[in-house]
Every structure is written in C-alpha cells, then in structure tokens.
Amino acid sequence: MLDYLIRRLGGTIPVLLAVSAFVFLFVHLLPGDPARLVAGPDASPQDIAAVRADMGLDRPLIVQYLRYLGQTAQFQFGRSIKTHQTVAELIGERFMPTLLLTVSAMLWSVIVGVGIGVLSGVKRGRWQDQVSMVLAISGISFPSFWLGLLLIDLFSVRLGWLPTGGYGTWQSFVLPAFTLGTGVAAVMARFTRSAFVEIAGEDYVRTARAKGVPERSVVWKHTLRNALIPVITLTGLQFGFLLGGAIVVETVFAWPGLGRLLVDSVSYRDYPVIQAEILLFSFEFVLINLLVDLLYGVVNPEIRLR
C-alpha cells in the first residue's frame, strides 16, 4: 500500500514538469504585451520599458523558462507582477476561502444529490422520481450567477438575514455554498440515478432478489455499493474543478478565492501567478485522483490497489 502511494506520488513529478513547460509556453504565447498592459493606457515608451525590465521580459524566453524552473524546484514562485506580493502569499491567502467553500458546497450537494438519486432510482417511474428529476434538471439549468443574484436579493436585501457576499463568518458561507452546490447536487442526482438503474438491471441483482434477499439489502448492498463507484469518480472530478475556483460564484459573492485570482491574473498577464496557480491545480487533480482510487478500495474491497 505504502509502495503504491510512493509510486503514485512519484508519478506526479513528470506530470507537473510537463504542465510547467506547457503553461509557461502557453502564457508567453498569449497575444498581447504584458508590459504594455501593466503600464496602462497612457504609458509612454519609457514607462513600458521600465515595466518590461522589471518583469524580466527583456531576456530570451529559454532563459526565462530555465530561471522559472530553477525557482519552482525550490518552491519559489516569484512575485506577482501586479501587486508585487510573493505568489506564495497571494495564493496562500486565497486558498482557504476556495477550499472551505468547495468543501461546504460539496458536502451538502453530494449528500443531497446522492440521496435524491437513490430515491429516484428506487422509485423509478413514480412521482418521487419525476419530482426529483424535475428538481435536478432545474438545478442544472439555473445559471449560477442568476440563482446567486436571486438569493442575494431575497435573503440579503429583502430579509436581511445573510450578507450579500464576502468571506468571513459562517453566515457568509450559506448563499455561495448553496449556489455553488446546486449544480453539483443536480448532476449527482442524475448520475446516481442512472448508475443505480443500470446496476439494478444487472444479473446479480436479479439473482439476489430471486434468492429472497431482503429488498433493503438488495438496494443498499448489492446495488448502491456498486453504483457508488462511478459516483465517487464524478465527485472527485467535481471537487477538483471546484478547487480550481468557481469563477462565477466567486464573482457574484465577492469571494476572495482562486478562481477570481486566476481571471484577474490572466487579464493582467500576471505570468508568475498564472503559472503557479495552474501548477497547483494540476497537483490538486493528481492528488484527488489518487484519493478517488483509494476510496474505490474502501467502498468495494474487491478492488485491490497494485
């Protein structure tokens, strides 16, 4: 097991190396002159040259890449072009808001989503199923910025119960976590339902029923346990995506997270921040995938990790 972990973690190094090269090239190939953007619309050539030298952009690309690689290997990510803050500090202060928002959104949406999915699967074709699926379709179809604004209008402006946005007290989590989780819960419900229905049609489920296994056991043990495998995969993927920062929800709720940081950085061509953020996201994905693989074994001991 430990062997397996070490091997998997070791395997992330080439992935991250490839990502770093790709991201570096990609951001430097983006059209647009970052020095010009940073210097502003009324900048003179002197101003722009000053900015370019300050950013180290006057050196050849390969020199810039090697320098970047050397620094990254020592966990030095440089300073933001925009704010002169160290990138580690900048990402550090945005990481917790995004992580906590992701966790709180995932927590409720997975529980509710899977719950609704199982209910629909069990009561397939009946009114519970139909109501659930209408809910799920609505959840997927509501654009999150619209839902967010609607919730703000109701709970903050009209009722005054919850803050309109910002990151702080537990109250500030309620609306963004609900908005962010709605789409996820809906996807989860649909996905769980179809996985459940598919498994429910398998021979071994029919056999279990024929053998007189109690219905409860058929649902929970034979069907759900197997249906959960793809659901876990999906949960991992969703979690990974959300950790990258939910740009729309962070924007609507003025949430100081990684998604907004990335958008700001891209529009400002803040190379060091873009590079470090994408490297972080890749690392998170690799980690989550590993976690998902480990979870398979927990849910179904038949699956062995080698």
Partner: protein, 509 residues
C-alpha cells in the same frame, strides 16, 4: 470592582442607546476590482490611485470640479518661459510614519519616481524635469529641461503624490504594501480583496477627518454591488451600470450620483488609410451617427454629446459645435468622395458590455448610409497589442477603433497631445487615428511653451477648432460618472476623472 461596575454600567448604557447611535463609523466602499498597489509612483489604475489619494497628498490637487487647489504647497511661482517652478510648502506636516514633511521629501519623491532605474510606472510624468532643488526646508525649486506650461497640473496627478522617504528606505519596492503619506487616512491592512484604512490622528487639518475607518471591498458583479448598498453593507458603490440607475432612483435611503466625467468617447478613424484619408468620408461618418440616439441606447441617457475634441471639464476647453444627424448629407459627402454605394470596414474595440452595445449601435447607424461595418471585439491584451505593436502607420491593422480618453491631469495638454499630436503616433503615445496636421501640432506646442493662461487658452482654442474641422474621429459622447451612496454619507463624490473622492470634511452619520 469599581471599574468592573462602571464597565457594566457602560455596557448597559450602550445597549440602551438607540441603534442609530451606534451605526458603525466604518465607511465601506464597494469597488469593481482589486487594487494593484499603493505606491503612488507605480500605479496606473483609477481604483488604486483613488485609494492612494486618501492616504497621500500632493503639492497641488484637483478638486471634484477638476480645479487646481493647493494641498501640501501653499503657493508657487513659475518663470515666464515655463521652465522653472518654485513651490512654497506647508509647515508643520508630518508623514504617517512620524517623519517630517519638507522640501527634501518632495525632492526625494520626484527624484525617485523620475529615475528610470527604479522602473516605476509613472516615470513619464517626470521626464521633463532636469533637477529638483531644495532651496530651504520649505521651498523647493523644479527646473525643467524644456518649457512645460502644464507642469502644476502634471504634479497634481496621483502619480506625483508625496511619499515618506523613510518608508521607501525601510521597505524598498515593498512600500506598495506599506504606504505612508500625509493624507487624512492611514493604511491598516490590505489582503485579497479588502483594503482597510483608519483616520490619521495627526492630520494637519485640525478636527479632520471625521470618518473613523474606511474599507474598500472589491465586488466585481454589478448586481451584487448594488445589493450591498441596498442591504446597508456598503455606503458608496461604483460604477453603477447605466441601465440599473433607474432602479435606485426611487429609494428613500440611496442617492444616485450622475455627473459628467472627463472621459471622451470616440471612434478613431485611421487617417492614413483609404477611405478615411479623405476628410469628406470622415465628415460623412460624423453626420451619419445620431449622437442623441447613441447616448439613449448605449448609456440610457447618462452621457452628453461631445462638442469639442476635449470634454468640457478639462482646462481650456472650448465648445466647437456639433455634427447634427443628417444621413442625407452623409450620403452626399460619401458620393462626392467617390463612395456612392458606401464601403466595407472593420470596427475594433474592447469586449465589455457597454463597448459591445456602442459598437453594434454604430454598425446599425452606418449601415443606413451604406457603410457596412464588421464589429471586432478583442480581449484587452490582444487589443493593446494590436494598437501599439506597430512601427509605422503602414503597419497599423486597426482602421476604426472604438475608444475613449480621460486626461488625468485635468489639463488640455494631456487631453489632446497624446491622441492628436504627430509625435504621439503609436507606440509612443495613443494617436491611434494617425492624425497629423502641422497647425494642430504647432498649437499644441504653443500651449506647452508658456504658463500664461490667456496664451495657453488661445493655443488650445486653435487646436480644438482645427481638430473639430478635420474630424479625425467620429465624435461620440462624454460619459457620466454613475455611482450611488447611502443618504447618511456626506462629502463623497466621483471625481470627473472617475476616481472615488472624499472631501476633507466628509462624514458618515
């Protein structure tokens, strides 16, 4: 025991007071983006500059009507040839870090910002300075390399705010996160999307400021910013999109701010390219656009038609008139120029909603006179590259550019020279119309060669008249600043240069 009792008593008293008495004295300002820094010499965005202006002061400042007012200087004298400026400084002022404000601090700030080795973004404000001399503790003389009649306006720009030399020596480049000026508010903290400031207890204007603390919170979503104001979480928000202003007008607790800015909006036509090299074509396009309808459709009426190359609030502005909407005349002019059936062209601009709406409106208007326009929206980075990565007029790939300009010095020089002077062709400055007329050039130069207001006025009147007649642009509108604030806030404005501004005696009940 007694102290405990009195604390208890105080506590009870506090709770007994009506709610309004303890309304937080924190002024929360909802702004659309994050700050980029707080080192005045290294800023180029309105938002960060407006924050810097609360913590720092300059020798002179522009008030909410764009008029020059003395701030850290009490007066100045200028030589006849506009090459030497002597400033007499206010006494008894200290920086927030405790060090004294004097002539040496002014020299330090100017030398630092103007030194190319420091790589600071506002270096261009200081390029005309030959040297700055300390005459005595409270007198400083600036000697210029060449005449620059707009110099006092130049240093009223937020890029020339005076920084504490001690703070720069202590923090170096990091001073952008440890600002220390002489302003009414001092820095507390800045993290992620929140900037906090508090009252400067040692401010040189006795009894001021009246507001205890100020928080800038970045809220990018327009609707969410408005909700913040409605829910009482913010007391001032900007910008408010024109289409949402009406929804706030009837509120009993909110005041809408709707005043002209100094942002002129126009379409720069490439004057070196056919068909725009023909003045009749440029005139035709000016007649082809209904400016009133443009303002109504794009800005819900919250703008004014442009009636000079410069917005009215800039120094030495002179009204030129209008190109009334006259599609028949436009068609006739096009026919005269050899385009009886119009022509096809591309209109380039940014990707934001208002620009999109504006470009689409122009597209429809020009179609009426037979000019088929393709709209090309470009992301900011791509757009600036396309605008400025050119070596000569022949390289320019943009033929019609939907753009605008706000002269942050409040003076005619920066209101015209960057866009209308031959030596300002990209990449040097923003003459994106590639407009060149020796008469205009000479007038712009005359305007800078003296500090005499009447001579400057004559020069800029000539320049404006010439540009208006040549019509290198399609003249569109002057934007309004749109903001909203709660009725218990007094003395808060949007300055015409689109920066949040508090008067010295601003207060929050």
């Amino acid at each position: 025991m007694r102290s405990k009792l009195s604390m208890l008593f105080a506590g009870v008293l506090l709770f007994a007071l009506p709610g309004a008495a303890f309304a937080a004295k924190d002024l929360v300002v909802g702004v659309p983006a994050n700050l980029t820094g707080l080192d005045p010499a290294d800023l180029n965005d309105n938002l960060s500059q407006s924050a810097a202006r609360l913590m720092f002061e300059g020798l002179y400042m522009l008030d909410e009507h764009m008029k020059l007012q003395p701030q850290l200087a009490e007066s100045y004298e200028a030589s006849e040839d506009a090459k030497e400026f002597t400033f007499h400084l206010r006494k008894g002022v200290t920086f927030q870090d405790g060090s004294p404000f004097d002539a040496a601090a002014v020299k330090f700030s100017f030398d630092r910002a103007g030194n190319p080795e420091n790589h600071l973004k506002r270096q261009s404000l200081f390029v005309m300075i030959a040297h700055t001399d300390v005459v005595d503790d409270y007198t400083v003389r600036v000697v210029l390399k060449y005449p620059f009649g707009a110099f006092v306006n130049d240093i009223a720009h937020p890029g020339a705010l005076i920084v504490s030399p001690k703070s720069v020596q202590q923090y170096g480049k990091e001073v952008t996160r440890h600002p220390s000026g002489t302003g009414p508010y001092e820095f507390v903290s800045w993290s992620a999307d929140t900037l906090k400031m508090k009252k400067n207890e040692h401010y040189w204007k006795a009894g001021l400021p009246k507001i205890e603390t100020i928080t800038y919170r970045s809220v990018p979503e327009n609707g969410a910013r408005i909700a913040m104001l409605q829910a009482g979480e913010a007391q001032f928000i900007y910008p408010v999109p024109p289409e949402l202003i009406a929804s706030l007008k009837n509120s009993s607790t909110i005041t809408v701010f709707d005043e002209p800015s100094i942002l002129g909006r126009y379409i720069a036509l490439n004057n070196m390219r056919k068909p725009f090299s023909d003045p009749r074509v440029r005139l035709a396009l000016n007649y082809a656009v209904d400016k009133q309808a443009f303002i109504k459709v794009v800005f819900n009426g919250h703008a004014d038609p442009m009636d000079s190359p410069m917005p009215p609030l800039l120094g030495f502005y002179q009204k030129q008139g209008s190109y009334p909407y006259d599609p028949a005349k436009a068609k006739a002019l096009l026919a005269e120029a050899g385009y009886p059936n119009g022509f096809e062209s591309t209109l380039t601009g940014a990707v934001d909603t208002l620009t999109q709406r504006g470009m689409q409106f122009i597209q429809q208007q020009l179609a009426i006179v037979g000019v088929k326009v393709n709209v090309e929206p470009l992301e900011a980075g791509v757009l600036t590259a396309k605008e400025f990565n050119v070596k000569s007029p022949e390289d320019a790939t943009i033929v019609m550019l939907y753009t605008g300009w706000s002269s942050s010095t409040g003076d005619a020089d920066w209101g015209m020279r960057p866009m209308l002077y031959t030596k300002s062709f990209p990449p040097v400055l923003a003459n994106l119309a590639w407009y060149s007329n020796p008469v205009t050039d000479a007038a712009i130069e005359e305007g800078l060669a003296t500090v005499d207001p009447s001579k400057r006025a004559t020069a800029y009147a000539k320049a404006q008249a010439q540009v208006w007649q040549d019509a290198p642009w399609i003249f569109l509108s002057v934007d309004h600043d749109l903001a909203a604030y709660s009725k218990n806030l007094h003395g808060a404005f949007m300055r015409p240069d689109q920066q949040f501004h508090l008067t010295a005696d601003a207060s929050l009940d």
